[in-house]
Amino acid sequence: MSDKSGSEHTGQSHRDWMRHPAFLGALIGILAAFTQALLISAGGPVAYGFCVACHTRDLVNGLTNIVAGTHLALAPISANAVLPVMSIVGVLIGGYVAAKSTKEHKIRKGTNLDYVIYFLAGVIVLQLAMIFGGCPYRAALRTGYGDLSALVFILSMAAGVIVGAYIMLKWAEREEA
């Protein structure tokens, strides 16, 4: 794969159950439902407890609206509240604290071309996620809420991953040959 990724953590040395992805999956699922039960009076939509793309959109557009007085679109829950949803700020701080406390924080630089590719990919992935109305995480929450179109999204995403992984496998074989 082109980068350090989740597969690096798949070794057998991590036996601690708190480090298992299934623990976090259960945590996000239950807490997302709890968050909705707690906060839904502030505004919708439903199945919005956690979403990387939507919550980034709410954070950026919400703060831009406050600072610059613009009227960029965001979810009702963030538009009605005193400040938009802050979960992405939390993810960045939580990830930083976890990486620092285990000495896994390490500056990894790329080439300028890498930065341009990742920047453009970030822009494009956000457009795609917003057209669907969620990132892979909100798709999972929506599926749990009973939205079968989100299940279609997940299956389609799995197909995209398989095609992408197959292409990268072929590239790698060609480089070896």
């Binding site: 350090k4 976090l24 919708g44 980034t56």
Partner: protein
């Protein structure tokens, strides 16, 4: 019908940033510890038959169903339209995408973006949450991905959202 949660509205509007910040802290911490990634789950299963990451994503789907079910029993007024396919019709999308289009449009909005998000993110080596966590670990490439998402938010709200609706209506997906 206006959904009513545990907190009344005038308290909830102050609680939104605080509660979501704490939720994010927990998710960020454990996502870094576990290497949580949805795209990586499908990729590792396809390439190596590893189920570790995939189990995290499947657990998320199941746990969210259980969570919504539990809170639907406790406070049904907060779980508006649960179970969605039952109360709103099969394959009807939960709001969030640009509005005012036919159900067929939202079906396309699930298939096409889904496929390309999978394709792009497997090349990048991680889904949006993995990129965000890698950015917090000091990965500059992932940080640029996050900056791209932030700039993309403004681009989407300013131009793309409206253009997509106009395009879809012009090819007959309006209501």
């Amino acid at each position: 019908m206006v959904a009513v949660g545990i907190l009344p509205r005038d308290i909830a509007i102050y609680a939104v940033p605080v509660v979501t910040l704490m939720l994010g802290l927990l998710i960020g911490y454990f996502a870094q510890r576990s290497g949580y990634c949805s795209i990586g789950g499908f990729r590792d299963f396809y390439l190596f038959r590893h189920t570790r990451l995939l189990s995290g994503y499947i657990t998320l789907i199941l746990a969210s169903f259980v969570g919504y079910l539990i809170f639907w029993f406790i406070i049904p007024s907060a779980m508006e339209g649960f179970f969605w396919a039952n109360t709103n019709g099969l394959f009807t999308a939960i709001p969030g995408a640009p509005g005012g289009l036919s159900p067929a449009a939202y079906f396309l909005f699930a298939i096409i973006p889904g496929f390309f998000i999978g394709l792009i993110c497997v090349y990048l080596g991680g889904c949006p949450i993995r990129q965000t966590v890698m950015a917090s670990e000091g990965n500059y490439k992932a940080a640029w991905f996050f900056v791209g998402m932030c700039i993309g938010s403004i681009i989407f709200a300013a131009w793309v959202s409206g253009a997509v609706v106009v395009l879809m209506k012009s090819v007959g997906f309006g209501v």
